[in-house]
Symmetry: C2
Subunit: 369 residues, 2 copies
DNA sequence: GCGCTTTCAGAAAGCGCTTTCTGGTAAGAT
DNA sequence: ATCTTACCAGAAAGCGCTTTCTGAAAGCGC
C-alpha cells in the first residue's frame, strides 16, 4: 500500500519534525566500546590513550558527526573558554571596523571565537554588555573606544570589571580610560595632535578651528589639548572649537555651524585651517565645506586623525595623523591574553601617531568665509 | 604596627592573588535562606514565587553581585540560548560592516549576543566557523556574503548545516547560495544590474567594460549576467570583462589591466563606461582611472553596486545600485528567528536594488584610452 | 617467581544551573 | 468538620562534559 518513499508518519498527520538530539560524548563512547572518560581523553589528547582505542574513538566520532557541547566543556573544565568579548561603539564606523579586523585576525590565529557587541554609543549598553560577557565567562573582554569621563559610569564599569578580573578574567582597552586600571593600548593622541598642529603651523597657518566631539570622551579632550599645546608653542591660540557627534554627520553639522558663525561675525579673523578630531568627522566636514562652495585646500585646509582607509580615496586625500589601527586591535588581544606578570599591574602599550600630509592641506588661502 | 590600610598579606609575600570563585546560585539561595530551585524561579520569573521570598532572593543576588553562568544555563535548559552566530568575509569591508550593523541592532533589541566571525575570504574557514558555532549551540547562524559555486565546498557546508538544522538550529543567508536550502535574504542582483545597464545605455553609452570578481561567487555571476541582459535588450554586447579580487585593491588592479589592454589594442573600440560589480571595487577603479589621467565622468563613466556609505563621499559621487544593507541584516536575523511554518521550507526575502544616478556617470566622452 | 612501580581505562563525582516530581499547607467545596 | 483542589517551596535528577580517584594489568629488578 505504502509508496516506496513513504514516511513512517500517518499521511496528513500534522506534526513538527522532531528535533534530532545532539550526538553526545556518551554516544561516541558507546559506539567505540569505551568509557566516556576514555573518549574524552582520546578526543582531547589530555592523556595517553592506547593507539587502537584512540583510533576507534575518532572513527566513532566521525561516523556519528560528533560535535562537543562547548557549554558542557566550559562548565566541566572551569576556565577553558574559547571566546573573547569585543565591545565597540559602532561596527559600521571604519575606525572600529579596522581595529576589529585586527582583533578578529589575531583571534582566528589562536582558535578563539569573538563575541562582538556594538553599543551604538550608549554608555549604559556598554556596561550591560560587559555583564553579558561575564555571564558567558569570556576569557577576555576588549573595550575598544574612548572611555567616558563620567563618575557614575566609571564607577559602574569598575564594579563590573573588578570582580571579573578578580575571578581570572582579562581586560584590555584601546584608548585611555581614566579610572580603569587595566591593560591599555594607548594611541598617543596628545603628542600626535601636537605634532599635527606644528606641521600645520609650518605650512603657514595661524588661525585654526577645531571640530571636536563629545567632551566627555578622553580621546576628544586629549586630542584637543594636544592640538592646543602644539599651537601654543608657536604662540598661537585656538580661535574656535565646535563640538559635534562623533560621526560623519556630526562632522558635517559641526562644520556647518562653524561656517554659520563665520558668516555671522564677518569681522572676526577667519580660520584658514580646520582640524577635525577624527577622520570620520573630517569626511562630513569636507562635504559641508564643499557644499558651502569652499575649495579644499585652496580656501581652507582640513585635517583629521586616525587615517581610516577611506580618507585616501577622498579628493583631496585627507591630511591626518595615522594610527596603525589593525595592529592596535592585535595588540589589544595579545595584551589581554598574555601571561600576567607577578606584579600584575596594568600594562600600557603606547602607539605613536604619524602625521601624514596629503592634499587636503596647503598654504593658507582665503579662509572660512 | 600595621598601617591603616594594610593588606592582610604579609609584606613582601610574593603570591599570586587567588582567583575569587564565582558567585553561584547556591550561594545566593543560601544567603536568601531558600532553596536553589526557588532562587532560580525567583530570578527568572519562570514560576510564581511569593513576594517576600522573591524580594529576599533579588536582594541577596544584588548583594553578592551574582551573575548567572550562561554555560550552566544553556546546558540545563537545553535550547535557551542567547547567542547567534554571524559569519562574514571581512568585517572591515564596508559592505559587511553595514549589514552587520543591522544584525547587531536587531540582536540588541532581542537581548541576543552576536558571535562575529570573519573568514578573510577563505572558504574553508567559513565551514570551520559553522562548526564552532554549532559547538556553541548558537540559536541561529547567519551567513553573510555570496555563496561559493564549488561542489566540494557546497557539500561540506551542507554537511555542517544539515545536522545543525535538524537539531533545531536556524540558518539564514544573505545572497544566493546555490545548494543551500535555507532562509535567504536575496538582493536582486540580476535585475538590479540589468536596470543599471538600461540606465547607462539611456545615457548614451554603447561600449562597456565590466570589472568583475571571482567567478565562483554567485553575486558576481548574477550581476554580470544581469548586466549583459540589460545591454542585450539594446542589442549591445559586452566588450570586456576583467576579473579582480573582491576588494578595493582588486578593483584598482582590474582597472589597471583594463587600461593596459586598451593601450595595447588601440584599434579596438574603447569602452566609454565601466561597471564595477561592487562599490568597493569601484573605489579602487576610480583611483586607477584617475591615476591614469582619465577624468570621471568626462572621459569615462564609472558605476558600482551596493551603495555603501562611503561612495557618497567620493568625488565624483558614485552612480550605483542601492541596496538597503542595514535592513538586509535585520531581515536576515528576523528570518532566522521567526517561527518556522508548518511547511518548513526555505523562505526567500527578495530586496530590490535601486539605481542611483550620481556624478560618476554622464554622457559618453572620450572613453578609456 | 615475588613484590615493586608504572601505565592506562573505567567509575564516579562534580561544574552551576533548570525542571520535574513530591509533599506540605491553605483555601474552597460539601 | 472533612475532603478536594490549588498553590508553592524544596528535593533531586539530570544537562554533557572533564577530571580526580581507583584499580587491574603489565613491566621491572632482585
Amino acid at each position: 500500500m505504502n509508496q516506496g518513499r513513504a514516511t513512517p508518519d500517518r499521511p496528513g498527520a500534522r506534526r513538527t519534525v522532531a528535533a534530532t538530539a545532539h550526538v553526545t560524548l556518551d554516544a561516541v563512547a558507546r559506539e567505540a566500546g569505551v568509557s566516556p572518560a576514555t573518549a574524552s581523553r582520546a578526543l582531547n589528547g589530555t592523556a595517553t590513550v592506547r593507539d587502537h582505542l584512540r583510533q576507534r574513538v575518532h572513527a566513532a566520532a566521525d561516523r556519528l558527526g560528533y560535535i562537543p557541547n562547548a557549554h558542557a566543556q566550559a562548565l566541566a573544565s572551569a576556565a577553558n573558554n574559547r571566546t573573547v568579548g569585543l565591545i565597540c561603539h559602532d561596527v559600521s564606523d571604519p575606525y572600529f571596523a579596522a581595529i576589529s579586523s585586527g582583533v578578529m585576525r589575531a583571534a582566528a590565529e589562536r582558535g578563539l571565537l569573538v563575541m562582538l557587541a556594538s553599543t551604538f554609543r550608549e554608555p549604559a549598553r556598554e556596561i550591560s554588555y560587559v555583564s553579558m560577557l561575564r555571564a558567558q565567562r569570556a576569557r577576555a573582554i576588549l573595550l575598544i573606544g574612548s572611555g567616558f569621563q563620567d563618575r557614575a559610569w566609571e564607577r559602574a564599569m569598575d564594579a563590573e570589571l573588578e570582580p571579573y578580573v578578580r575571578a581570572g578574567g582579562r581586560v584590555a582597552v584601546v584608548s585611555r580610560h581614566r579610572s580603569l586600571r587595566v591593560d591599555t593600548v594607548q594611541p598617543e593622541n596628545r603628542t600626535g595632535a601636537a605634532a599635527l598642529a606644528r606641521t600645520l603651523v609650518g605650512l603657514g597657518h595661524r588661525r585654526f578651528a577645531v571640530l571636536s566631539g563629545p567632551p566627555e570622551l578622553t580621546t576628544v579632550s586629549d586630542r584637543l589639548a594636544g592640538f592646543r599645546e602644539g599651537l601654543a608653542e608657536a604662540g598661537i591660540g585656538l580661535d574656535q572649537v565646535v563640538a559635534g557627534a562623533f560621526t560623519r554627520d556630526g562632522g558635517y553639522e559641526a562644520a556647518r555651524r562653524l561656517l554659520l558663525s563665520a558668516a555671522r561675525a564677518p569681522s572676526r579673523a577667519r580660520p584658514t585651517c580646520v582640524f577635525a578630531v577624527t577622520d570620520v568627522m573630517a569626511v562630513g566636514a569636507l562635504a559641508a565645506l564643499r557644499r558651502a562652495g569652499l575649495r579644499v585646500p585652496e580656501d581652507v585646509s582640513l585635517a583629521g586623525f586616525d587615517d581610516i582607509p577611506l580618507v585616501r580615496e577622498l579628493s583631496p586625500p585627507l591630511t591626518t595623523v595615522a594610527l596603525p589601527l589593525t595592529q592596535m586591535g592585535e595588540n589589544a588581544i595579545a595584551l589581554a591574553l598574555r601571561e600576567l606578570g607577578a606584579a600584575r599591574r596594568a600594562r600600557v602599550v603606547r602607539v605613536e601617531g604619524e602625521v601624514v600630509l596629503r592634499d587636503s592641506t596647503g598654504a593658507p588661502g582665503g579662509g572660512v568665509r
